[in-house]
Subunit: 414 residues, 2 copies
Amino acid sequence: MFFIVTGAYTLINYQEFLAQRTELMRASEIREILKITEGKKIISLAGGLPDPQVFPKSELAEVTREIIKEKGDRALQYSPTKGVADLRDALLNYMKKHGISVGSNDDIIITTGSQQALDIIGRVLINPQDVVVVELPTYLAALNAFRLYRPSLVGVPIDDDGMKTDVLEEKVRKLAGEGKKVKLIYTIPVAHNPAGVTLSIERKKHLLEIASEHDILVIEDDPYSHFVYEENVDVTPLKTLDSEGRVVYLSTLSKILAPGLRIGWIAGNKELVEAFERAKQSLDLHTSTLCQYVAAEAIKRGLVDRTVEKAKVVYREKRNVMLSSLDKYMVKGAWWSKPIGGLFLMLRLPSDKVDTKELLPEAVQSGVAYVPGAAFYADGSGRNTMRLNFSFPKPEEIEAGIRILSELIRKKLS
Amino acid sequence: MFFIVTGAYTLINYQEFLAQRTELMRASEIREILKITEGKKIISLAGGLPDPQVFPKSELAEVTREIIKEKGDRALQYSPTKGVADLRDALLNYMKKHGISVGSNDDIIITTGSQQALDIIGRVLINPQDVVVVELPTYLAALNAFRLYRPSLVGVPIDDDGMKTDVLEEKVRKLAGEGKKVKLIYTIPVAHNPAGVTLSIERKKHLLEIASEHDILVIEDDPYSHFVYEENVDVTPLKTLDSEGRVVYLSTLSKILAPGLRIGWIAGNKELVEAFERAKQSLDLHTSTLCQYVAAEAIKRGLVDRTVEKAKVVYREKRNVMLSSLDKYMVKGAWWSKPIGGLFLMLRLPSDKVDTKELLPEAVQSGVAYVPGAAFYADGSGRNTMRLNFSFPKPEEIEAGIRILSELIRKKLS
C-alpha cells in the first residue's frame, strides 16, 4: 500500500514555537458556540449581533460613494494613528450632545472597535498583578483582553442597580489594608453586558468617591447609553460626573450605526490618550481611514441619530417579547434582569442544580442556543446563569426560544 | 489676580498608572518627522505613502455602493475573526496566480493592515529572549512591534542581493554552539523596506536550507512583490519555495489597492493561523467587514490587477527620476540601492562624519525631509544612512529634493 505524502509538514512541531502568553488566549466561548450552531436550524439567543434591519443601508451606500469619489485621495490613504480629525471632531460634538464633555479632539483616540480599546487599555495600564476590579458578571471579551496582561482580578457583585458599591468600598479598603492598591475599576454602567442592569445615580457618585479617595482610574465601557428604550431613566455617564479626569470613557458605533465599520473610541485625559496612541501605532498603525470618514459623515448628517431612533423601536419590542415570554414560561424562582437598553438580559436559575454550560448541548439539541454565564464571572461563579440576546432573533423566535428553554429547565429541575 | 481652575486634573499622576511595557512603545520616528513637517512647505522624501493618483477611486466608489446596497446586511455586520470567507477565497486565488500555494482559505487570516500581522506574530510567537534574526536594516515598524515582546534581536547585513545568507549561516551556527536556538528569521525579500534591495534566488534557497537545518520559522513580509517595475527579475516568494510549511507569509493590499482599507493577511500553516486567530479575537474581534467585502470584490473584478499596472508606470518613472537625480547630484562615494519595486531606496554616505539624524533639522530647514537610517538598524548602526521615498512626491519634487540634499551633504563633508 502506498501513501502519497504532499509536503513534509509533519516535520515541524508548531506548538513548540508558540509563546507562553498564547496559552492565555482562550477562544471566546461565544464564538465557539456560534460555530456549533452554524448551519443548524436553531434559535440563537447566544450572539450579540444588531438586527441588520436597523442598518441605514441606502444612506450609507450613498455617503460612502460620495466620500470615495470626492475625498478618495484622503479617505483611501494612510491616516494618523489617533484617528481622522473629522471623526474626532464629530465624536466630540456627539458626546457633548449626550452630556459628556472632554477638552478637545486631542482627548479622543479612534480604535478598531471597542475591542481594541480594551486591549490597548490592558496593554498600556496593566502590569502583572495589578489589581483590577470588575463586575460579577462582566463583559467576557474585556476579561479575555485584560487577562493577557495578567492582572489580579477582583469581582464585585451586582444587583438590579448595578455594581454594589458598598461591597466595592469594603473590598478596596480591605485590599488597601493588605497594602494592595486597586489600579483600575472596569464598569459597564448602563444596560450592562451581560447582566442588563444599570448603575443608579447614587452608586455612580459613590463609585467616583471611592475612586477619588483611593486614587483609582475608572474605565467606563459605554456601548449602550446612547440608545435606551425607556423614558425617564437616568443614564448619566460616569464621565459626565467626573471632575478629576479619573474616568477613561470608551464607546463604539457598533450598536448605533454598524459593527462592520469597526469604529470605537476612547476619551480621556490627553496624557493617557498619547500613551494609547503609542500603543496603537504598533497594533495596526490606524483604523480604516475609509470607515472613519464614513462614520464622521454619518454622525454629521444625523444618520446615527436616525439609526438610534429606529433601533429603539425594534429592540424595545424584542425586549418586551423576551420579558413577557419569560413571565409566561420561565420556572418560578428564576431571576432575570429588566434591561432599559442594550441587547441582552441575564437569567439566573433558582437552583445550583443546573449548570448552564452542561445544559447547553441539550438546549442546542432542542433547538435553542444561549451563552452560559460562568465565562462572564471573573471568579468562576455564575454557573446557574445564562446570557440571552434579544436584538438579533425575530420576535416569534424569541418567544419560541424562551418556551423551549423554559421547558428544558423545568424538566432538569424536577 | 485670579486663576479660574476648571477641574482638578493636576491631582492625578497619570504616569504612575502606565504599565512598564509602555516604556517599550516608542513613537515611530517616521511619524514624528511627519509631524515636524506638517503645515510646512517642504519636500518630503520621508513618508511611505502611495501616490493617490493610483487609487481606483471611481471604481471603488461604485463597488462599495453596490456592496452596501446589495449585501449590506452582511457587509455592515460583525464577521468571523479569521476574516470574511469571500476575501480569503479571493486572496487564495490571487496568491495562486502569483505562484504562492497554500492549502485552503483556512490557512489565511485577514489582519488590520500588515502592521497587525507583525504584532500578532510577535504576540503569538515571541517569548522574552527568543532569538529573532532581522536584516540590517529592516522595517522600522516590525522592529517596534517585535520589541514589545522582548526578543533578542540578531542583525544580518545586506548587500545588493539582499540578506547575506553566508553571514546568516555563520551567526546561526555560532548561536547554536552557545546553546541558543534561533526561533524566527524575519525578512523582506523583495524590494526591501528601507533598503530597496531584493534577495537573489540562490540566497532564498540558502536561507530556507538554513531554516530547515536549524528548525527555524521564516517570516516573509511581502508588500511589494506583486508590483515590480523591471521585467525579467526573479521575485519568487520564499513561500513558493517552501516545501516544509516553514514560511509564514504576510502581505497587504495597502500598496496594490489602497492603504486606507487596512487589509493585510497572513498565510501559513493552519495550526499557526488558528493561534493567530485566538490572538486577534482579543485585539479587535475582526477587521472591518465592509473593507473586507470591498477588497474581495476589487480582487475578483480585476481592480487590483489594474491598479498594479497603473502603479508600476507611475512608480517606475518616479524611481527613475530619483536614480538619475542621485547620479547627477549626489556626492562621490555614496552608495544607494537600485530598487526593482517598492517605494523606497536607501542612501549611504561615504563617510561616518555625517550623522543623518543630526543632519535632519538642517535638511528640513533647507526644505527637504527624509528618514534617518539608524532607526532601521536593530544594532543602532547605519547612522550615515537615510531612507528616501519616491512614491509620493511629484517627479519635479524628487529632483529638487535630491539636489538640495546633495548640496547639504557636500557642504557637510567638505
